[in-house]
C-alpha cells in the first residue's frame, strides 16, 4: 500500500523539529548566522503547525460502499 501524502511533513514531525529548534536557540551556542537560519525555519514550522490546526474542514462523512462517500447527518442530542 502506498502511503498517502508521504512527502508531506507530518504535524508531529513539524512540532518535534520546532521543539528542537527552540531548544537549540535557547542554548545560544550557534553563531548568529545559524541562529537566524534556525529562527527562520522555526517560524515556518510554527506557521505550518498553526495552519495544520486550522485546515481540517470538519467534514463528517460516511462511506456507503467502496468509493462512495456522502455527508453524514448527525442527529443532535
Amino acid at each position: 500500500m502506498t502511503e498517502p501524502n508521504a512527502q508531506e511533513l507530518k504535524f508531529e514531525e513539524a512540532l518535534a523539529r520546532l521543539e528542537e529548534i527552540v531548544r537549540l536557540l535557547e542554548q545560544g551556542e550557534s553563531t548568529l548566522d545559524e541562529s537566524l537560519t534556525l529562527f527562520e525555519e522555526g517560524v515556518k514550522l510554527a506557521r505550518f503547525c498553526s495552519n495544520k490546526l486550522d485546515e481540517a474542514e470538519g467534514k463528517i462523512e460516511i462511506m456507503i460502499k467502496e468509493g462512495q462517500i456522502q455527508p453524514l447527518e448527525v442527529a443532535e442530542e
Binding site: F11, E12, L25, G42, M63, L72
Partner: protein, 402 residues
C-alpha cells in the same frame, strides 16, 4: 545398535511433544494432589476415571486466576504438553484454568487469546503509534448505534475541525465479523490516518464479533493504527488485545484519538514566543560582543594593525638583506595585506558610520556615551561617514524616552 543417552532420548520425546497437536489444548479433569508451592507456582494432577496427568501452573499465570482450585474440583485447563526433562515426566503446562461451568464461548475466547498471544500478535513492539493530529479519523461501527453518536460528539468537541469518515458495519450477529473485516479493508484505501473500531456495551455474546480470529488478524495487519473501543471499561475482547491501543469506551477512544485543539494551539504559540525571545537574546549578546571589539585600540583604526604588519614585513625584508623591491615575494605579500585590511575594514566603525550612524566627541576628542558628559553650551564634534560637524549643545535629555 549404537545406544543413545537418556538425555538424547528425553530431548527426542520433548521435541515430539512440541507437535501442534499438544499445544493450546483445553483439557477437562478433576484436580488432585493440589499444592500451592511457596514459590507461587501451582502443582497438581488432572484425572478422570482411567487416567491422570501432571500439571503445573506458574505463578505468572495463576496470579490472574479468579478462583482458587482445590482437590475434587472439575476444571478446564488450557495449556500445552511438555516434558520436565530432569524427571523425564510429561506434564500439562497450564496457561488458564476455569471451573467446569464455563461456557463454550468463554473457553474459545481464552483459547484464541492464548494462541494469538503465543504468535506475538499482542506484542507491544508491533503496536503502531497514533498520529498527534489526525488528518481524518475513520470510525468502524454501526451507523445507528449510540457508540457512533458518542464518538462524533467527543471528536468534534475536542477539535471542531476534525474530519471523520464512518465505515458502517454490523456489530453483532453472525455476519458481524465479516462485515467489520470488510469495513476495515475499505478503510485501508482511504486517507484516514487512524481508525476507531467498536460498539457500545452488551453481553459477552453480543460482543463476540470482536473476538473473531480473522478480525483480530485483520486488525493486526492494518496499515493504519487501530484503536479498539468495545463495550464498557470492564469488557475485554480479542480486538482490544490486538489493537494498537485499547480504549475503555467509544467516548474514551475519541478522546485518545484527537488532541484538544486549544492545547496544541497554545503549545505552538508558546514555541513561537520562545523562538523570538531566544533570537532577541542572541542578537543582544552579539551586539555587546561587537561593541567590545570596536572598543579595542586596534580596531578603532583599521590601518593600525596593517601598518604594524607592514613594518614587520619590512623588518623581515631588511633582515634577509632584500633591500630592493624587485623581489617576487613582496607584491604577493602586499596583496595579502590588502585583503587583510579589507577584512578589518568590515569590522571597523567606519562601516557603521556608512550606514548613517555618527560618533560624537567633546573638544578633547573623548567619545561621548552619556549626555551627562557635556553641559549646555559645550562645543562637540560629530564625526560622520564623510566629514565632521562642529556643534554646540543647546540642551540635554538625560534619560531615554524622558
Amino acid at each position: 545398535m549404537q545406544p543413545i543417552t537418556v538425555s538424547e532420548l528425553t530431548r527426542m520425546i520433548s521435541s515430539a511433544l512440541a507437535d501442534p497437536v499438544f499445544q493450546n489444548l483445553a483439557v477437562i479433569g478433576e484436580v488432585s494432589n493440589f499444592v500451592h508451592h511457596s514459590s507461587g507456582h501451582m502443582y497438581f494432577s488432572l484425572k478422570d476415571a482411567h487416567s491422570r496427568i501432571k500439571a503445573v501452573m506458574f505463578r505468572s499465570r495463576n496470579r490472574l486466576l479468579k478462583f482458587l482450585p482445590k482437590n475434587g474440583d472439575t476444571v478446564i485447563a488450557v495449556g500445552s504438553v511438555g516434558v520436565y526433562e530432569p524427571n523425564g515426566e510429561y506434564q500439562l503446562y497450564v496457561e488458564v484454568l476455569f471451573p467446569q461451568g464455563i461456557g463454550e464461548l468463554h473457553l474459545a475466547f481464552e483459547q484464541l487469546k492464548a494462541k494469538l498471544e503465543a504468535e506475538g500478535l499482542f506484542d507491544p513492539a508491533r503496536k503502531k503509534p497514533l498520529p498527534l493530529l489526525p488528518r481524518r479519523v475513520g470510525v468502524i461501527t454501526s451507523p445507528s448505534g449510540a457508540a457512533l453518536r458518542d464518538i462524533l460528539h467527543v471528536l468534534t468537541r475536542r477539535h471542531p475541525g476534525v474530519n471523520v469518515l464512518v465505515f458502517p458495519a454490523l456489530v453483532q450477529g453472525e455476519e458481524a465479523p465479516a462485515s467489520l473485516r470488510h469495513a476495515l479493508e475499505l478503510a485501508q484505501g482511504t486517507d484516514c490516518d487512524v481508525l476507531i473500531i467498536g460498539r457500545g456495551g452488551g453481553s459477552f455474546e453480543e460482543l463476540s464479533a470482536f473476538n473473531d480470529e480473522q478480525l483480530a488478524r485483520a486488525i493486526a495487519q492494518s496499515a493504519i493504527p487501530v484503536v479498539s473501543a468495545v463495550g464498557h471499561e470492564t469488557d475485554f475482547t480479542i480486538a482490544d488485545f490486538v489493537a494498537d491501543l485499547r480504549a475503555p469506551t467509544p467516548s474514551a477512544a475519541a478522546e485518545l484519538v484527537v488532541p484538544l485543539q486549544s492545547e496544541l494551539r497554545a503549545a505552538v504559540g508558546s514555541y513561537g514566543v520562545r523562538l523570538a525571545a531566544a533570537l532577541r537574546r542572541k542578537i543582544g549578546a552579539e551586539r555587546r560582543f561587537l561593541a567590545q571589539l570596536t572598543k579595542s585600540a586596534a580596531l578603532k583604526r583599521p590601518d593600525f594593525m596593517v601598518n604594524q604588519l607592514r613594518q614587520r614585513v619590512d623588518d623581515l625584508v631588511t633582515s634577509l638583506g632584500l633591500h630592493t623591491t624587485h623581489t617576487s615575494g613582496l607584491p604577493l605579500r602586499r596583496s595579502r595585506l590588502g585583503t587583510f585590511a579589507g577584512k578589518l575594514e568590515t569590522l571597523s566603525p567606519l562601516k557603521t558610520l556608512a550606514r548613517g550612524y555618527a560618533i560624537c566627541s567633546d573638544e578633547e576628542g573623548r567619545v561621548l556615551r552619556s549626555a551627562e558628559q557635556v553641559s549646555s553650551g559645550d562645543a562637540v564634534n560629530v564625526t560622520l561617514y564623510q566629514g565632521r560637524l562642529v556643534c554646540r549643545v543647546e540642551g540635554r535629555v538625560l534619560h531615554d524616552g524622558a
